[in-house]
């Protein structure tokens, strides 16, 4: 089976390392600013869809307001940098934490809702956040947005070209992937999947389901906030138009099309849907049509997504432990 072979290759640590090396030398080969910009955008989408995957994939809670968290992160960063002259590096944790706080505030009352109801509440939240950006003139300058957000500065290096931005998003992406993999390969990750399968059964084996959902929501918001902060400093302009319902739907489509609860799947989904509008650019106005058709076809023939959760490594926790002893032997004796 081709799938089996691919599976064996994909789960090897060498594969991810090789991929990372390729990604690291890519900007030396690619000289075009446009291509780098596309890569950066795709990277941003990967981070966003991985963060949404924690809630909608692993925990099975349909959220269609993810762009709101992304927007909050962007505005927090923009305001901190513009009004308080904070350096970008100091705003990263703040953007993450403040956005996570919003996740907590939204999640606490609403995560008791199920399925469609939660979807509607998150939809409403997304709209409210956008309308606040639009109407709180004194803080956000409303529809005019916040221009002139400074670039990050590292020692004497000011991020002016795309290359340092590329490496920055690559770093954020790698941290996100590692975080998500570690969560997925833990009992906490299993408990999230259990909640998505059957909440009553999860409660009955002692999983505090509300707490699990809330944690998933908070971490999801945290990463979306960090992605938002990156966006603000990269584009150097934020306005309410960048965080609309359509953006939430795009991120959700990446997760669903890639494969709910599957980290490689979601990465593939974000790459495919992130590149699609660029690749299909020659079709001008018809490209959204094709984009839509692609989604319909996928859902009919591959409802599980590009790389569905059924391909997940079974008993990953056990397998990771089994790899350990050799490493211990080489190190100091226990």
């Amino acid at each position: 089976m081709v799938i089996e072979v691919i599976k064996k290759v994909v789960i090897r640590p060498q594969t991810s390392l090789g991929l990372l090396v390729v990604l690291a030398i890519l900007p030396l080969v690619i000289k075009s600013d446009y291509l780098l910009h596309v890569l950066i955008t795709v990277g941003l989408y990967v981070v966003l869809s991985l963060s949404l995957n924690l809630v909608s994939g692993f925990t099975g809670q349909l959220s269609i307001g993810h762009a709101a968290f992304y927007g909050i992160g962007a505005y927090v960063t923009a305001l901190l940098m513009l009004r308080l002259n904070m350096p970008y590096w100091a705003t990263i944790p703040l953007a993450g934490i403040i956005t996570a706080l919003f996740g907590l505030i939204l999640g606490l009352p609403t995560l008791r809702l199920r399925g469609d109801y939660l979807a509607i509440v998150t939809l409403g939240f997304g709209e409210i956040v956008r309308l606040v950006f639009l109407n709180w003139d004194s803080l956000t300058r409303g529809p005019m947005g916040l221009p002139g957000i400074p670039s990050p500065q590292l020692g004497s290096l000011i991020f002016t070209s795309k290359i340092p931005f590329y490496f920055l998003i690559l770093m954020i992406l790698v941290i996100t992937v590692i975080f998500m993999v570690r969560i997925a390969e833990s009992e906490f990750g299993l408990s999230l999947i259990a909640v998505s399968h059957d909440e009553l059964a999860a409660e009955a084996v002692g999983i505090p389901t509300l707490r699990a959902k809330l944690l998933a929501f908070v971490f999801s918001a945290l990463f979306a906030g960090i992605a938002g902060g990156y966006y603000a400093t990269y584009i150097s302009f934020v306005s309410p138009d960048s965080f609309t319902f359509m953006d939430s739907v795009t991120i959700l489509s990446m997760v669903v099309l890639g494969g709910l609860a599957s980290i490689p799947g979601v990465v593939i989904g974000a790459i495919v849907l992130g590149l699609a509008p660029e690749v299909l650019r020659f079709m001008a106005d018809y490209r959204m049509l094709l984009y839509g058709a692609l989604m319909v076809i996928m859902m009919i023939y591959k409802p599980d997504g590009f790389w569905g959760a059924k391909h997940r490594v079974r008993n990953a926790i056990l397998k990771n432990l089994e790899k350990k002893p050799t490493r211990v032997k080489r190190g100091e004796p226990i």
Binding site: A201, I207, R314, I317, L321
Partner: protein
């Protein structure tokens, strides 16, 4: 020495609108005892389980676990206090493996913390190893130790029931509630199940409260039987006493045909 009452339910009533589903029922179970609840369909047996496991809160009455009053607790909090259950219609996590299902049962006894999850310190690894070995041991008890990597949904029905029992045991419970554990099992599987339940109660010293329709099995396995009808306790006693109780005979013969047939088998 007087055995310990691990769980008791005193004068519990639950009302859904105008329906009195459980009417002033008291039951208890000792350490190492197998208590069976029987009764015609709709007698309130599963409702009783739902009250004991915290899914429903009783309208009145109290529940004590190891002598301590438990009130207004969510199901997961009760699991931590030592009550675990299985379901009438199996509720496993279908896309997870046999081992992962049992590990989730044991999850409530472990604490890894976010940093532990992210950085896999030696302490976390040791705990994981310990917990996995414990789960493997339990899977050995129910006879599924060779199927660690199988998805729960791929198991045959009888094995799914066993896995659910192993998952409940993994919570390190003192009281185990089994809702129709023999349903859908063939004769051989039933014999194995009876052995298993005895082993859990006598060797592991857990109280087992069981709902079952197969009266042969009930009479064989129970230390004591409680009979429910229309939400009321109509009889309680040893299997022999129950078989000869005129009230029980009346309740069963007066109820649906299926139940009547079952009784005729004895």
């Amino acid at each position: 020495m007087i055995p310990n009452k691990l769980v008791e339910m005193n004068n519990v009533t639950i009302q859904f609108g105008g329906l009195l589903a459980i009417d002033n029922v008291s039951i208890y179970a000792y350490e190492g005892e197998i208590l069976t609840i029987i009764g015609p369909n709709g007698a309130g047996k599963t409702t009783l389980f739902n009250i004991l496991s915290g899914v429903y809160q009783p309208t009145s009455g109290e529940i004590r676990l190891k002598g301590k009053l438990v009130k207004n607790l969510t199901p997961h909090a009760l699991v931590k206090k030592g009550i675990a259950r299985t379901f009438q219609n199996i509720r496993l996590f279908p896309m997870l493996t046999v081992l992962e299902n049992v590990m989730l049962g044991h999850h409530c006894r472990n604490k890894e913390g976010l940093l532990g999850v992210l950085f896999h310190g030696r302490k976390v690894n040791e705990q994981r190893l310990k917990s996995i070995n414990y789960c493997k041991q339990l899977l050995g008890v129910v006879g599924l130790e060779n199927l660690l990597e199988e998805l729960a949904s791929n198991l045959p029905y009888g094995k799914q029931r066993l896995l659910e029992i192993a998952r409940a045991l993994a919570t390190e419970c003192d009281v185990l509630l089994l809702d129709e554990p023999a349903a859908g099992m063939n004769t051989q599987e039933r014999i194995e199940l009876v052995k298993l339940i005895r082993r859990i109660s006598k060797e592991m010293n857990k109280s087992i409260i069981l709902i079952e329709h197969d009266l042969d099995l009930v009479m064989d396995i129970s230390d004591r039987i409680v009979v429910l009808d229309y939400g009321c306790k109509i009889a309680e006693g040893s299997p022999l006493a129950i078989q000869n109780d005129p009230k029980v005979i009346e309740a069963y013969i007066g109820s649906s045909d299926e139940e009547g047939d079952d009784y005729a088998v004895i």
